[in-house]
Symmetry: C2
Subunit: 214 residues, 2 copies
Amino acid sequence: MRLGISDNVVPLHGDFPDQRLHMTQLTPGQTLFWEGDEANQLFRIESGVVRSVNFSAEGERQVTGFFFPGDVIGLPRGHDYRYTAEAVTEVSYSTQPLKGWSEEMRCTRDLNDALFGTVQPELEAGYMRSLLLGRQGALVRMCSFLADVCARIGNGEETVLPMPQTDIAAYLAMTPETVCRTFRKLKDIGTVRIEKHDCIRILEPGRIAQLASH
Amino acid sequence: MRLGISDNVVPLHGDFPDQRLHMTQLTPGQTLFWEGDEANQLFRIESGVVRSVNFSAEGERQVTGFFFPGDVIGLPRGHDYRYTAEAVTEVSYSTQPLKGWSEEMRCTRDLNDALFGTVQPELEAGYMRSLLLGRQGALVRMCSFLADVCARIGNGEETVLPMPQTDIAAYLAMTPETVCRTFRKLKDIGTVRIEKHDCIRILEPGRIAQLASH
DNA sequence: CGCACAATTGATCACGATCAAAACCAGTGG
DNA sequence: CCACTGGTTTTGATCGTGATCAATTGTGCG
């Protein structure tokens, strides 16, 4: 099953047009934009990993998605950004004014395909996460997530997870303890290796995908 | 907090254009379209309640959203419908060819607003459901859901739930037993009344919303 | 070194799933 | 009108998983 991580491989028009205004660098933890801020530009991730986070009225933090190089994020709900975007790793990104995007869309041959390339990543991420969270069992959820990360950034062989376990926990709606324990199970099976506390390597994507299917 | 139910109050262009091809009636349980089918038309719900359902690879059924009169659904992921749409109650709907929609969008003044009116309902529903499922506690989830239904179809006073408890369970990723027991709690508090087994009336929307906030 | 934070491990507990059965309701046909 | 059927709701008893609480270890950084 596919999960809550965008797989927008084909960007809107290949790349952003020449008027690439900013090409910015961020360090882990810095934010690209804030939930509720007025949205006036889109963000194209050039390198690194970005997470989208939402806070409930009571202050509970949820990670609603992860985004990777090639993804375009920042399409508003109404006029505001629908989440806060934070750099997980070092991140570099470029921006494009939202107005320009609107014009660009108008000239696109197949509007639907174009939408598929921009609206998709963030909204689709939420949709797929809802399917993920609808499934029961910590191991199934974890493996579904890992399988999706592998499909997105893996080379078919080993894959190193780019985000900390706390983020995975916040994404999967579980506690860090449960995430850690589930990782240990996978380690005991031999499907992952845990190196240096923060660096988890997935050794057998196939086995992971199989475990994800209940 | 807002939830996984669309609140697309303002339809795309008021109504579908004159070439309203079909105006169809459905009885409970019948489907509007199937997940995976090639998408060639949009559906505008005129009356009744529709649910979107997805099946995981293992056959688990999930209700991913509820849609109400005024909502436009059927926008594809790629070229296929992303879920199966089923009538919960008696439903009447009209359709519009997807090609026509694409042209119509092209002529829209504010493309973003237009997107907000069509892409929004279904994708946004998934996004909000992911936030809902990310919260812990059966009562909190139930009340968040109920509060949202009231906001969507309620008149401010009492509201009668239009969907069976099994659907609510499938939407909230809980068992029907848990849904039922949670309803009984609310009944004991006096915030809902259960009439005739299938007909649940929400008496105190305010209290519900309060309980939803943990 | 010492600080702050993430990860790890263990012990306990509670919530919701599961299993089982009965009650309720709608629809159908005798 | 009543008996029968199928599906939903209801209620009860038990069980298991993951949350919670608490404490230790590991890691990066000033």
